[in-house]
């Protein structure tokens, strides 16, 4: 990874100022870092340890931006990017799981069977991702709120900071989005059965 904390910080600032191209450059950096960290957890072979997504993102932040970054706005932006990156990593993984269960033919190499993600669970995540895409078409901000809260593990306040909206708005968006998504996913279930 050939990015310095300063570069990452600059990209965060640029993105905060509305530069979409900055996000395009930031995303692969953050994704790669999250993957690398997930990899490191694997190497430690400590599956009993429950890992929190926020912890992972915090670690990625320290790695890419560094402790010295005190500017809370940049931190908020980073969490915004990281949540999005996390979403794409987890959904990729869930899709791969589904593929494998459909007869991709992969041998089982899980270190701990208890932690194996079931095909049903994987399907849920993939369906949620699809529904989020639909939600984004109607109300992009609500999609972002879900992304930050669910995939990024951010609190209401952190989400508010990242999106520059009030905590009340986050809670209202969250409630509405949750109900909407739940309804959409229930519809899907009915159609399947």
């Amino acid at each position: 990874m050939s990015s310095t904390p300063d570069e990452v910080t600059q990209l965060l600032v640029d993105w905060g100022n509305g530069d979409q191209a900055a996000l395009d450059r930031l995303m692969p950096l953050v994704q790669a870092e999250l993957r690398r960290m997930a990899h490191r957890y694997m190497i430690r072979q400590n599956p009993g340890h429950t890992l929190q997504t926020t912890a992972l993102i915090n670690e990625a932040f320290l790695k890419l931006v560094g402790q010295q970054e005190k500017h809370f706005q940049n931190r908020a932006h980073f969490f915004g990017v990281a949540a999005q990156a996390m979403r794409s990593i987890l959904v990729d993984y869930a899709r791969a799981k589904q593929y494998e269960k459909r007869g991709g033919g992969a041998p089982k190499v899980a270190l701990d069977e208890a932690l194996t993600v079931s095909a049903e669970r994987a399907a849920e995540v993939v369906a949620l991702d699809d529904a989020l895409r639909e939600l984004a078409k109607i109300d992009a901000r609500k999609c972002r709120v879900v992304e930050l809260r669910y995939f990024g593990g951010l609190s209401v306040e952190e989400t508010a900071d990242a999106l520059k909206i009030s905590a009340i708005t986050v809670m209202r968006d969250w409630s509405m989005a949750k109900s909407w998504l739940y309804r959409e996913l229930s519809k899907g279930e009915k159609n399947d059965s």
Binding site: A38, H39, M42, D92, G104, A106, V109, L115, R149, K178
Partner: protein, 857 residues
Amino acid sequence: MTPERWGQIERLYHDALEREPASRAAFLASACAEDPELHREVDSLLASHDSAADFIESPPEDIVAGMIAEQPARSILGRTLGHYRIESLLGAGGMGEVYRAHDTRLDREVAVKILPERLAAHPDALKRFEREARAVAALSHPNILSIFDFGSEDGVSYAVMELLEGETLRERLRRGPLPWREAVEIAIAVCEGLAAAHAKGIIHRDLKPENLFQTRDGRVKILDFGIARVKRETAPDAETLNETATRPGAMMGTIGYMSPEQVRGEPVEAPGDLFAVGCVLYEMISGRRPFARPTAVETLAAILTEEPPPLAATDPAIPGELERLLRGCLAKSLSTRFHSAHDLAKGLRSIGAPAALPANPGAPRRRLGLVLSLVAVTLLGLASVWKLVGNREAAAIDSLAVLPLVNDSRNENLNYLSEGITEAVINALSQLPQLKRVIARSTVASYRGKEVDPRTVGRELKVRSVLTGKITLQGDNLILGAELVNAEDGARLWGNSIRRNFADAMLVQTELAQQIADNLRLKLTGEDRQKLAKNYTGNADAYRLYVQGRYLSSLRTAEGTRKGIALLQEAVRLDPAYALAYAGLASSHYDASSTYTPPGEAMPRVKAAAERALQLDGTIAEAHVALAEVQGFYERNWAAAEKEIRRALELNPGYAPASHVYGICLASQGRTEEAIGHFLRARELDPLMAVNTAWVSYVHYLNRNYDASIQESRQLIALDPAFVLGHVNLALACEQTGRYAEAEAEFNQWQALDPSSPYPRAMRAHLYAISNRKSEARTLLQELLRAQGAPNRYVDPYFIGLIYIGLGERDTAFAWLEKAYQARSEDMLNIRRDPRLDSLRGDPRLDDLMRRLKLAP
């Protein structure tokens, strides 16, 4: 859905939620009285709200945990890299996981190796690995795993290889040893693969049963060429040999097959691979490694000092010839070990066929093997040329840097040979008009002894291709391994090794030059080919003296030049028709004139040697240039000098010294506008030679183009702050533009770099004289005049004259300029354009001086 509608739904949803659950239904019914659709929508959302209590409330940490619990690359399953869909994991090792994948473009099954992430932190190692693997891919030998493709996506680097069905030799050996005939068959196949690779200078370095594969239909394939080096380069510190050597079992898999030279940390060449073949063969038959010991340290010691027990101890049926061949593989000393995989394969084959060649692998057969492998080299070379022509659409490459060949032997005497061959190849190739730029020796010399990425060299020198190579000695054989790399993408264009008896060393350079030219796809005329194939002597001893002499001269020390001249004189004594050695003598004498021999003595020697060289062979550019130097700078016969240089450039358009000397000749005649182009060309060919840039900046100064001059000088100083001419030229341009303080600072910098030189003082005196500090100028001038008689204190009278000009003492100034003329001052040659003489312009005494200097006033 319109935003308005969505807003309406959302408002009602929140309003309803703020009410008691019991009153919500009534509220909604009244609010949506005229819009049943809206009612349904909000109602269903409220229903979801009630049952979605825990839904997505906590992050999907089970997914994260699951992802982490499984192999990380699991996420790669089902993904598509390039046009390869990853289907299942085949195996994993220290150098990455291997997957079965589907090539969606060619609709076939392949194996995809995902290289470990840590490689990303070692771009050089990755590049080298890729380059080597590309070279292996180009071999396309039935006993070497085929590599189809490389790629990198989303930070994942991968190699695409043929998918093999079968097992590794390690897996096979777990079921027990092999019958000796079967083991020998496998070893023969391995040798054949190795012979092809070795012929291209590719060494495996990590042969072991894990890296040998037997397909279901019985074919043998060598895997993982080039991995060993990457592994070593990218290993975390804790995995270094030293630290693991004391841990039982650590790295045993690899240690067991290391050759003694590898254990000692020396470079591994072909014989190292053959040592490993011996170990594997021994293990296949006996079921145990020849040097297996309980710990790594003991294993390493055994490799260095112990002989394995004979195989006959396990099976009396083992032929004695096989034991002998094994000893030839496992010999500690390079001088008694097999050197050629080809020879070994031949020997092994003869075991099975009783009527074959005599059993003793003695000298005649080795010689035959050598001939055969030379034939193989040639055929393979042709094949790769054909491939290049056939497969590559790219335009012919027109610029090249030949990096100094590395002396890979421990023999320091080979240094001169590597230098000599490098220089000869540069000279041969720069003659070809098809090559616009072949970087001069003085510039490539700065890469000597450095491990550089050819792409970096390409960028730094702006060339499209880079040649690297090394020479080593094996007994009486000189082996030159070379590799031509496309500097744009790091791809290997060609690689080969040339093996010659040491006595024929002079043939190596012509062979290499021709092969490079062929592989750059230059369209050569018959005349070009003759130039490339030209050998200047048939006398091996004279040749050796020549390269040694040139090497010493090139050190540019008084001692080196003196010894170099003596050796070159000896070379022409042995071969009086050795024109190139005379040219070398001329150049060395000229070098001596600027170090320890007075010009009056040195110049006639330069001239005599150059003329002798040209009598013998009029096509040597170097001799024409040396002659021009004498004619121009010493005899002031500018017309003759120019004629010589133009001839030199006709013969060798890429010869940097010709452009450089041409520039000086023109600048000295005041033709500074013409001169600049030649200095720029010299710099193009010899970019790291700072003196070229110094001239560019100085000529800008003479052209009164002070801003350009200052810019060049500043760049020069930035590049090399210790190079005095950068400071001198900057000071001169500053002086002319009234930046007196900066000029003084630069003169002081110069003085600091060269504390004993009187010249910075002289220049400072001139600066004071023209900047209203005349008394300081006079004080300095008196010091200089007092010291004029002392050794190493002598200042060219021209500069004393300049100080008097600055002081406005015209008559005294002319007296000193006259002294300068008598002393044949070289600096005086700039008087036609030197801005410091501007106040004298129009004075008939100045015109007279210029006339006498054969400089048209």
